[in-house]
């Protein structure tokens, strides 16, 4: 089967899956993973995940929240990526003006698009630093456009995510990482179509265990993990190595072994409400999260 993993090949979320596949953890669990499906846009990935042969996916939390609010039948079964350590903010090499966040005053800051995670992060960051209204924020669409805009002077700072950053490191100057301002925010979670989950609870349990092994392998063997990532993502080994090292160097957990970080999930929810990406009001996690498929040592009661 093919597993749905958001941004597989272009983001860091998929590395545990690449390792688990390469190391045979999925096979041990009795799942024959032949490849990974991904697509642009969180909503698409959620839909794809629910429509697949194995209706499971590690997908973006904002899309899951939106889907849940629209009444899609899905259950969140494990935590995914718990921080934004893969997101760095950079300026041109020759532009020495911005050294700290306070230097942003009066400058132009690029983020991907309105109501996105970068919108939210920049909003929170400016708020925390009392810069709201003093920085010109501009939506740029994507990393390629952002980098082009940076070169051309359309923005003074923009974001780049790993592993692209590992590739572009020589061309731009790193100023800070998103975790500097928002250390805990859950980016992705694992979801399953509820109907399927009821029928195949054991399969999902095994899958979560296989992924967990992948996460643990990265911690223990970053070098080998990088080699696997380079192969699966078709990028140079040094970029893979660099990106994994960078991620691991950042304080806090990035790849969750499966457990949930409810505070991080709330941060995401509140952030999204701040940029009006989802409707206001409380969101009852317990209605959608089911911890019963996690290994016992990872279970934690959701606070309501």
């Amino acid at each position: 089967v093919e597993l749905n993993v958001t941004h597989f090949g272009t983001g860091m979320y998929g590395v545990p899956y690449a390792v688990a596949k390469e190391k045979g953890y999925f096979k041990e669990a009795g799942i024959d993973v032949t490849g990974f499906l991904t697509s642009a846009g969180g909503g698409t990935t959620v839909r794809n995940a629910l429509a697949s042969e194995l209706p499971y996916g590690e997908v973006a939390l904002p899309a899951v929240i939106a889907a849940a609010q629209q009444g899609l039948e899905l259950t969140i079964v494990h935590g995914g990526v718990l921080s934004v350590a893969d997101q760095v903010w950079v300026t041109r090499k020759d532009d020495e003006r911005i050294k700290t966040v306070q230097d942003l005053k009066g400058k132009k800051l690029g983020y991907s698009s309105p109501k996105s995670v970068t919108d939210m992060i920049t909003t929170m960051m400016l708020e925390d630093n009392k810069l709201t209204g003093q920085v010109e924020r501009r939506p740029i669409g994507g990393i390629g456009a952002g980098v082009a805009a940076l070169r051309e002077g359309g923005v003074d700072m923009t974001y780049i995510t790993q592993p692209v950053w590992a590739k572009e490191e020589a061309n731009f100057r790193h100023v800070f990482t998103s975790t500097d301002w928002v250390p805990r925010v859950t980016q992705t979670v694992g979801v399953v179509k509820t109907e399927f989950l009821k029928k195949n609870p054991d399969l999902i349990r095994k899958l979560i265990v296989a992924r967990r092994k992948g996460v643990e392998f990265i911690r223990q063997n970053p070098a080998e993990a990088a080699a696997i990532m380079a192969k699966e993502y078709k990028i140079p080994l040094e970029h893979a190595k660099k990106s994994i090292d960078d991620i691991l160097a950042v304080k806090g957990e990035y790849w969750s072994p499966g457990g949930f970080d409810y505070e991080g999930m709330d941060v995401m929810l509140r952030g999204l409400q701040l940029v009006k990406a989802v409707g206001a009001g409380p969101f009852d996690w317990s209605k959608y999260v089911d911890e019963s498929y996690l290994p016992d040592d990872l279970k934690r009661k959701p606070k309501s």
């Binding site: 490849g35 642009a40 590739k167």
Partner: protein, 268 residues
Amino acid sequence: MRAAADVDVPVPASPPAVRRAGRLGDSALVLLGLLALWQFGSWVVGAAVLPAPAATLAKLWAIMSSSDFGGHAWETGRAFLSALAIAFAAGLAIGLLLGAHRLSAEVAEPILVALYAIPKITLYPIILLLFGLGISAKIAFGVIHGIVPVAVFTMAAVRNIRPVYLRAARAMRLTPVQTAGRIMLPAALPGIVSGLRIGFSLTLLGTLIGEMFASQRGIGYLLVKAMETNDVATVVALATLLIVVATIVSGALLALNRRLDRSPKPGR
């Protein structure tokens, strides 16, 4: 008496071989001009934004010789050829029908033109919802891009068949099937081929757009992945590959059309 085949034909203004050589020379010049423009553009905006021709060709070569390129090309090719077959067959059928039946043409033409004008990319959610992920969505995407121009051109070509050909067919007592095969088809062919030229390109575009959003393999997927990772060299290399392929096919269809279109040209 000699057989018809080896009878003298009035000598055309210039031998075809000479003309063809001249045309190729001109094409080569235009190609050189475009390359120069490209090189110049690359200098202006910087190689990081628009890689130079030579670098692009090297990159293209690297992409094409990588082990999994064949798989991607095959994936795109399969989806594209299916889409092309459907777009051509359905477009021709619709066009022939509308061309032959005046009232349905009057009813359908404005609808077709309006459909043509819709930004089809916005239909991608619907297509995805209807066809799910995988090859069928890509095919559907290719088809919705290509079918309308094929149908519209075919319809116009059939409608513009000179009525006297059909009267001649009746005077020679051809059956309806014979009339369709021996008169209508050859008479409308040049117009139909023009439609196929545009249809070819747009179907390819549609298939690629489909792949960009709803696929894990194929040239469109490579393109969108390169876009996401800011891999400009790959983007430009793939775009070059596409235009080269489409131009070769378009040129071949054009040559075919020049051979088919024997109707007298207007003007002195």
